[in-house]
Symmetry: C2
Subunit: 362 residues, 2 copies
Amino acid sequence: MATISDVAAYAGVGVGTVSRVLNKSTKVAEPTRSRVLAAIEVLDYRPSPLARGLSSGRSHTLGLLVPFFTHASAIERLRGVVAGLHNSHYDLVLFDVESPMQRDEHFAALTGRDRADGLLVMSLPPPAVELARMVSAGVPVVLVDARGAGVAMVVTDDVEGGRIATRHLVELGHERIAFMGEPPDNPFGFSSSALREQGYREVLDANGVPRDARLVAYGAHDREMARRLATKWLTARDRPTAVFASSDVQATGILAAAGDSGLRVPDDLSVVGFDDIEISSYVGLTTVRQPLFESGRIGVELLLSALEVDRSRKPTRATKNQRPWSPPGPHGEVPEPIVRELPLELVLRTTTARLEQRTVGV
Amino acid sequence: MATISDVAAYAGVGVGTVSRVLNKSTKVAEPTRSRVLAAIEVLDYRPSPLARGLSSGRSHTLGLLVPFFTHASAIERLRGVVAGLHNSHYDLVLFDVESPMQRDEHFAALTGRDRADGLLVMSLPPPAVELARMVSAGVPVVLVDARGAGVAMVVTDDVEGGRIATRHLVELGHERIAFMGEPPDNPFGFSSSALREQGYREVLDANGVPRDARLVAYGAHDREMARRLATKWLTARDRPTAVFASSDVQATGILAAAGDSGLRVPDDLSVVGFDDIEISSYVGLTTVRQPLFESGRIGVELLLSALEVDRSRKPTRATKNQRPWSPPGPHGEVPEPIVRELPLELVLRTTTARLEQRTVGV
DNA sequence: TTGAAAGCGTTACCAC
DNA sequence: GTGGTAACGCTTTCAA
């Protein structure tokens, strides 16, 4: 495979010149330029991204950290990321996280400069140490569906989401409303589910609907698990008449459990989910929609613009006699981190209905 | 950020030694070793993958080329890839392909050495030029759901898949069986749909079922498009009693069209899909299952083992006085490329039924 | 506008 | 075992 000096030799110019035409630097005479281009063509030359990266200090790569990559909601966000990356000339490196250990490994790797020019972190509150390291290393980071001090983020109001779902159920006349979520004390620090539950509680209390601890259950983000959990509820004597699940995946499990128990939805049981993943429209699930695709797209958008700013301010590499560049801050003029809050919306489909009076107390 | 020489200086050793402990080369005395480790710890040193790659000739990266990344089947394959990559220490770089131009760009980029150590190509027959270039560059390539001369591949027998689906319908007594697929003359050279159609034709002919050109339709891999196409069929006087769709996505569109037309499935219309994506089990679609997840997992598996072999044979880089290594072949001992054919299986659910005699000729 | 040369941070070779 | 040093292929000064 030809190198830049092969090209230079063939074209009868110096490597610097070849580099200049490669990087569209205008300071190259037209005849020289075309000679170089011809040489590139003939030798089928392709620049080495590795060498380019090492030399310029930019890897032209974006790192994407996603927990449970296989979840429909993560995939949907990923779609948005890929869409937002089109025509950007950045490569996307994917890091799937399935365990806290893996999370830490990946964070450690990505934290060192030059693995990625920028980092997109999904649904994962970064450990404080890692976050600090990134910020101090000057690596632009954007958090999607997660929060962290001092970095840009794309979020939704989960508490409000919980309120929206629960309010809908209360307005339909339900009083025995169950909540199914994910364990609040998980090793990753995911908090969405707990926040949605908070909204659920608020609305129940505000409407004087008595809370019943037995109507709150936690399980893994998994259809079958939700199905088992729901079955316990549905076969009990004083079963709930409605359920709010903190994810559509769990909601579909609840739907399945209802079928198992011979309960009709929405006549005998109302179900509200959260997310609005693709499957939800197929099964007619009423749910709180969050803009998953958009969150990914906006995430990269923020990251790309941060990278843009970065490039114009920061020298590509420390040159010999030049005082080292340092991040923003000596005068406390740390810019307010960007926070984009995406809207939540109740999508009414066919799994919720007004509580039939005859059902009460059966 | 600390470099290897910072570490060397701090530990009072040479950079070579640091490199040795980093690469777990045993040739280093225990006391030295721990001193280096301590220095690494103190300085919070992280090796630069870029520099490492440039020097060693390996980027520790695998390239994944996927067309229409957003399709459920692609995602399912990708899940397999990610699963197969766990604990492998390779980074995954994702290249989504949405147009022939994009395909060529990405192929061109990935073909140059050092972008990726190995390449996984999905559902995309590589242009002959690119394929030749990769092979001659010695970059291991594995094709998943695509075929190409001289490279490893993971495939299924699409013609047989078409036979399986059609045979099922014929055995249920259907005679007006439609086929919906994707355009046979697409710019990417996808051939799965055409091959499945071939199987469809074979079975029809073998059973003396007359073929009707009006019962063959092509449209994009898109639910709504399929819905529109199917509506034309279903509202015609001599409508088909069964449809074989070359993908589950199209099949769900057909199901929707049936609903629009007031046709009951499977009583009035039988539908068989292809793929068995997640949604299919939700809607009870009878389909020809292909191991999507497995195809991805096995694909990386093949790639990783090719990389392994590669590493043991090929010098990491040309050293000064040493004749250049060349790919296998002077004595025609080109190894037979590995071809893994994955099994197809008919998954019976609730969208197909025996043709009711009363329906005939209505 | 151009060529020469100094890095970029590693690995791998070659002596000691 | 270990240190020194030449690559690796590029970008970016610095002179000319």
